[in-house]
């Protein structure tokens, strides 16, 4: 979804604040949130992609003003409500597609704008890049987050020139490499 979580290249978030000697171990409740999440996922109440998507679906102001574990807690609460704490018993397709691309291939990302979960950042849609390496196959988050399938696809590390992503005023000699599922990509002549 085109939510505020998808923040690569956005402006206005301010300076990076580095807290010296910041606490490593969080507050007690955060540890419990961690434990609850692990237990819920182990029980099959929801999967990782659903969990991420639940965070993305938080109201924008809440997302942006919550701490990391506050977002987790809110996401877990939403998921427990929505699932009514019932584990779904379902038989989902588990397909696996053949790899279409090899390192060196020129690709272009699709202009996908699903309202559901995806891991194709907005800043990299309709952009041309080169396949650096092939990985996976990994569960496709776009369907796994919505319990539509357990399909797996190859994932490609694709390198984009900064100018392709940000225009001619981009910093010189810069690239961004992004890991993208096969269905996010098409072959490109250029």
């Amino acid at each position: 979804m085109n939510g505020v979580h998808d923040m690569g290249g956005t402006h206005g978030h301010g300076q990076i604040v580095v807290e010296e000697d910041e606490p490593v171990f969080h507050e007690r409740w955060e540890g419990r949130v961690y434990g609850i999440n692990r237990g819920a996922r182990a029980a099959g109440l929801y999967n990782l992609d659903e969990f991420r998507h639940a965070q993305e679906r938080l109201p924008p102001v809440q997302y942006l003003t919550s701490s990391y574990y506050q977002r987790w807690l809110a996401a877990i609460e939403a998921l427990v409500r929505e699932t009514r704490a019932e584990v779904r018993d379902e038989a989902l397709p588990e397909r696996q597609v053949e790899a279409s691309f090899v390192p060196g291939d020129r690709v272009v990302t699709r202009n996908l704008n699903p309202s559901g979960h995806t891991r194709l950042p907005r800043y990299a849609r309709g952009k041309r890049g080169v396949v650096e390496s092939v990985h996976g196959p990994f569960l496709l988050p776009d369907t796994n987050a919505h319990h539509r399938s357990l399909d797996r696809e190859p994932v490609y590390t694709v390198r984009f020139e900064a100018r392709e992503l940000w225009g001619d005023a981009a910093e010189p000699r810069q690239t961004v490499s992004i890991d993208l599922w096969q269905s996010y990509l098409e072959g490109s002549a250029t």
């Binding site: 956005t10 604040v17 007690r28 992503l165 690239t175 490499s177 890991d179």
Partner: protein, 205 residues
């Protein structure tokens, strides 16, 4: 905390389970509060985890064959060092050279290689870094204290899938004759994310 974005939930190790059990029982019996434990830990805390990545980097600096293995098959190389709790689907190590500087981010959430770097710092998980490092990495690094020359390539890696990244920093000058432990001591978490370079403390060497 363990891996925030591992794909497979796992049962605690034996040592973890025993530790949890003891704290659970002691708290239940009113002999201890978890807050008291927190207070002790907070006062002594230091980064967890980065030591693993640091050991791998130090070994790579000392042993070119190990470095080649670390770059080609990182999880196997880490296992050689006795590091096997990987909890990640796949790890990729990217090497800094005089021609290339690498920096890691997860713009969509905060994916981070916990198994070798410990807990991610708050700034890594926060909006300013996530939004800016993909569009103006040199400016971000400058703000964070790292000035890069114009004549090198900056590669930003956005961990959007199940692959986790670790930067292998360049070995700095002034470390000749150092052993693995000394070298590991200057490899900080930030150098393995790519927002800093290892430095030799003044008066050492």
């Amino acid at each position: 905390m363990s891996d925030d974005h591992g794909h497979h939930p796992h049962a605690p190790s034996d040592l973890e389970a025993r530790t949890l059990a003891l704290e659970s029982l002691l708290v239940e019996k009113g002999l201890l509060t978890s807050e008291a434990v927190d207070a002790v830990v907070t006062s002594f805390e230091q980064d967890i985890g980065p030591l693993r990545g640091a050991r791998a980097v130090a070994r790579a600096w000392l042993d070119p064959d190990f470095k080649a293995r670390l770059l080609a098959a990182p999880k196997d190389a880490l296992t050689e060092l006795g590091i096997s709790e990987h909890q990640v689907e796949e790890l990729v190590v990217v090497e800094n050279t005089p021609a290339v500087h690498n920096v890691i981010v997860c713009t969509l959430c905060s994916c981070y290689p916990w198994a070798v770097l410990g807990l991610p710092p708050t700034w890594y998980k926060s909006a300013p870094y996530r939004s800016r490092v993909v569009i103006e990495p040199r400016a971000v690094l400058r703000e964070m204290g790292l000035e890069l020359p114009d004549d090198l390539d900056v590669r930003v890696w956005d961990s959007s899938a199940d692959i986790r990244y670790l930067v292998l920093p360049e070995r700095p000058e002034g470390t000749d004759g150092w052993d693995a432990e000394q070298l590991a001591s200057i490899v900080t978490r930030d150098t393995m994310i790519g927002v800093a370079k290892p430095t030799v403390p003044a008066g050492v060497g």
